[in-house]
């Protein structure tokens, strides 16, 4: 008989190993699923994990995509992880991402066609502020009226989507776009365009900011008083209060930071890879970042790796759809398995498995 036994201290080794184990299990279960769909499982797994980086034909296109996709995921997940560690559940990063993009883009577009070098920095600031402000809505409702931030932040995503649609059809629509929905394309507006820093690498300013956020978050959590308070608040709210943490300030800080970073991610996306505000501008980064945050165990370095891995499955998934004709839903199920297995094997870091003989009843 199998039995779980609680470890006196969480195991460091298993905490590091479980994400890898989860990836392996996902490959196995995903392989079985692909085989049942009538595809060669080994080939499918290879296309998803290997070809995007090393395929002689596609890699030139897909390799830079890795950073382009991982950048916003990492940036948003870092912000979310602070809150998640403190038991503050911001599920609405997608909304904050949209609002950041709208606000930042609006500022840029307002100055079209200026060539001032101040435009892009200004867009960045306003983009961050937009996301921050959107996250402040659940934060203030929570601190003033004790509403549930999960529901409020989530519902605000749908509000943000409506705003996005209305903006791309109305206020921000390209006046020279012959009536098509969507704003001016930032590619035609160099002072506001978030271009690649090294051509062909996918590295744009958003990716740089994401890396900086990883470093900041690491220092914050491991060295700074505030990070320590975040960790205590998550583990034991009473102990946190006893040690002098102000729970309201904690909520405002965590939601605000997550919103700000999500807003920045939105701004870098709209002014770079996406190029314009359009009805379908948002592509679910804000939700996928939740998976990335947990896959990375809410640890900055883990999130960095998880973001890259998640981006890989996106690109590889697209490639697999293209080359093997796998349905998109199968790819989504595959990504879902990753989180599922992670949560399942997570038990191992706090428990050990014991084999016991069944007692004769």
């Amino acid at each position: 008989m199998l039995r779980l036994e609680k470890r006196p201290s969480p195991s460091k080794m298993w905490t590091a190993l479980t994400p890898l184990l989860a990836v392996v299990l996902t490959m196995i279960a995903g392989g079985i699923m692909f085989a049942m769909l009538g595809k060669d499982p080994v080939e499918a797994i290879r296309i998803i994990f290997w070809d995007p980086l090393f395929h002689e034909q596609f890699a030139a296109y897909s390799r830079p995509q890795l950073l382009v996709k991982a950048g916003p995921l990492i940036l948003i997940a870092i912000g979310l992880s602070l809150g998640f560690r403190a038991n503050i559940w911001n599920i609405g990063a997608e909304g904050q991402y949209i609002i950041g993009a709208i606000c930042g883009a609006a500022v840029g577009l307002a100055f079209y066609p200026s060539e001032s070098f101040l435009i892009f920095p200004m867009m960045v600031i306003v983009g961050g502020l937009g996301g921050w402000a959107w996250a402040m809505i659940p934060a203030i409702l929570r601190t003033k009226f004790n509403t549930n931030e999960i529901l409020v932040s989530l519902l605000l995503v749908y509000v943000a989507e409506q705003l996005l649609a209305s903006m791309s059809l109305g206020l921000l629509r390209n006046p020279e776009g012959m009536g098509f929905p969507g704003s001016r394309n930032f590619r035609d507006f160099p002072a506001a365009f978030n271009q690649e820093i090294i051509a062909g690498s996918g590295m744009h300013w958003g990716v740089v900011v994401a890396f900086i956020a990883v470093i900041f978050s690491y220092v914050l959590l491991s060295r700074h008083m505030l990070g320590f308070q975040i960790r205590v608040a998550g583990q034991s709210p009473k102990a946190a209060r006893f040690s002098g943490v102000n729970p309201k300030r904690m909520i405002l800080f965590c939601l605000g930071t997550a919103g700000g970073l999500a807003g920045l991610a939105g701004l870098f996306e709209v002014s770079g890879p996406a190029g314009q505000i359009s009805i379908d501008f948002n592509s679910g980064y804000g939700f996928t970042a939740i998976i990335v945050a947990f896959l990375g165990r809410l640890h900055p370095v883990g999130i960095l790796l998880a973001g890259l891995l998640m981006a890989l499955t996106y690109i590889g998934g697209e490639l697999a759809q293209l080359m093997l004709g796998l349905p998109g839903a199968a790819i989504q199920a595959f990504q879902g398995m990753l989180l599922f297995f992670l949560l399942a094997v997570d038990v191992l870091s706090n428990f050990r498995i014991k084999f016991t003989r069944t007692e004769a009843a």
């Binding site: 036994e5 006196p8 201290s9 969480p10 060295r223 700074h224 008083m225 505030l226 320590f228 960790r231 205590v232 583990q235 034991s236 009473k238 102990a239 946190a240 209060r241 006893f242 040690s243 002098g244 102000n246 014991k354 007692e359 009843a361």
Partner: protein
């Protein structure tokens, strides 16, 4: 073994890493009040859980009136005639007494009949209880009566009571003992678990003493002194805290008209609490659990804020300041709940040292925690307070209750407080660790700090405090010198007869 109700023969139960019971044997005769005596972790609970069918022994056997007894579930145990009153009640606060009793029965009779029966039993055994009152409105003592009556309705032959008096006032304890003696006279055996020696000496006819899972002695507690029993239990000569008479200094902490609403819907609000504390003295605050102890600690630690003037430290109004500002000024606290309030369970001892120590021990510079200093501080606590742990990197939850409590108290004492407030400093702590903790509080006071010790252990309060006050429904009695206070007087203070008690003093 003819004539025995229950005999336990060589029972062993091992858990990973610890043998909870090692070939334990003892017998209980019909009508006997038998004590199981031992420190925390001696294996008393595991033993009674086996008798009650909650845990199965690894080896050994039990015999009930001559037949083999192997209860697989508590239901089987109850069917045999074993009933148990747990230390922690399992009652629904939103239901009334009769409904709560009915929930514990397999085939409850109609409510009216049951209420009638509860009334009869409660009157017969001197445990007055109204079957239609909501449990949420009952005191701890009354709640215990619900549990006892629930057991008595099963007409048990053996009643197991796990630490029943920890939540009772001395008067309530007397009522309980009268009931237990009556039951025993009627032939019901009682297995009584406690570490309160005086109670056992006055109530029990036989005792089995456990230490580290083994039976270390059986005796007739009426023939032993409390000290002999304690030494049997601990296995070493007990070190009794020594106090040195010290000169009292200026008033350091002053509470005036402190009223705080509880954060908890079933908590007790503090009402007009006044108290003044001089440097160098220890004030003991007694009272039955749930009469405002947690709220008093929270309003002193800064977890709940009040009007500035109702809490004054060295003359400065601090009622509106948060925990860290109070720490800076010299008011430190140690709450009752070790894991999850005084310490974060999954964090290392180093991190837990930084939990309250950053300000007074200068563990942070420009907001950055100096982890090496925090580690040194944790190591200092571990060595000065004899905390048994492999090192400061271990998680708080890996420590035993007594060791973690030593760590928590040590963390505050080493920060040289002007005023230290502790709540239940030795709750669930073994006797030698408890003695160490009390000694450290006495030493702290001797060095000129003022100490408030909130506790439900009256012996502890009498041992260390200079003055005594009791909390009752959120009100604090005036303090009285602890020396010469009788158990009756303490009981009255705890029971809330304030005016009576005051006239009694003045007279």
């Amino acid at each position: 073994m003819v004539g025995q109700l229950l005999s336990v023969e060589g029972v062993t139960k091992a858990y990973p890493g610890v043998v909870a019971n090692d070939t334990v044997s003892f017998t209980v005769a019909p009508g006997e009040v038998h004590a199981l005596l031992g420190e925390n972790g001696a294996g008393k609970s595991t033993l009674v859980k086996m008798i009650y069918g909650l845990v199965r022994p690894d080896s050994g056997k039990m015999v009930w009136m001559g037949d083999a007894y192997e209860p697989a579930t508590p239901n089987a145990a109850r069917a045999t005639g074993v009933a148990m009153v747990f230390q922690h009640f399992s009652l629904f606060e939103a239901l009334n007494v009769a409904e709560n009793v009915a929930l514990g029965m397999e085939y409850p009779p109609p409510m009216g009949q049951l209420a009638q029966k509860i009334k009869e039993v409660s009157e017969a055994y001197g445990l007055p209880l109204d079957p239609v009152r909501l449990v949420g409105e009952l005191s701890a003592g009354e709640r215990q009566r619900v549990e006892i009556i629930r057991c008595l309705l099963q007409d048990p032959k053996l009643l197991i009571m796990d630490e029943p008096t920890s939540v009772l006032t001395p008067q309530e304890v007397e009522i309980l003992f009268t009931t237990l003696r009556k039951l025993s006279a009627e032939g019901t055996a009682i297995l009584y678990i406690s570490h309160k020696l005086e109670e056992i000496r006055s109530l029990c006819q036989g005792a089995t003493v456990l230490r580290l899972g083994k039976v270390v002695g059986t005796c007739d507690p009426r023939e032993k002194s409390a000290r002999e029993l304690a030494e049997l239990m601990v296995g070493q000569t007990l070190h009794i805290p020594i106090r040195e008479a010290s000169e009292l200094g200026d008033v350091t902490l002053e509470l005036t008209g402190l009223s705080v609403a509880s954060n908890n819907p079933f908590g007790t609000s503090l009402k007009d609490v006044s108290l003044s504390l001089q440097a160098g003295e220890i004030v003991g605050i007694g009272g039955v659990a749930g009469n405002g102890q947690d709220e008093l600690l929270a309003s002193l630690s800064g977890e709940s804020l009040t009007t500035a003037d109702s809490v004054k430290l060295k003359g400065a109004a601090i009622g509106h300041l948060g925990p860290n500002q109070r720490r800076e000024l010299g008011l430190l606290t140690a709450p009752e709940e070790r894991l999850g309030h005084a310490a974060a369970p999954d964090m290392s001892l180093t991190e837990n040292a930084a939990l309250t120590g950053t300000i007074r021990e200068n563990l942070a510079r420009n907001g950055f925690i100096q982890w090496h200093s925090a580690k040194e501080f944790a190591e200092r606590i571990i060595s000065d307070f004899d905390v048994r742990t492999p090192g400061p990197d271990n998680a708080a939850r890996s420590l035993s209750g007594g060791n973690l409590q030593k760590f928590v108290i040590g963390r505050e004492v080493l920060q040289r407080p002007d005023v230290l407030v502790v709540n239940q400093p030795t709750w669930g702590v073994d006797a030698s660790a408890a003695a160490d903790i009390r000694q450290s509080l006495l030493d702290l006071a001797a060095k000129g700090a003022a100490v408030i010790c909130i506790s439900q252990d009256l012996d502890e309060l009498m041992e260390i405090s200079d003055r005594f006050a009791a909390l009752n429904e959120g009100r604090l009695t005036p303090t009285r010198p602890a020396k010469g206070l009788t158990v009756d007087e303490i009981g009255l203070m705890m029971g809330g007869a304030h005016d009576m008690e005051v006239s009694h003093v003045e007279a």
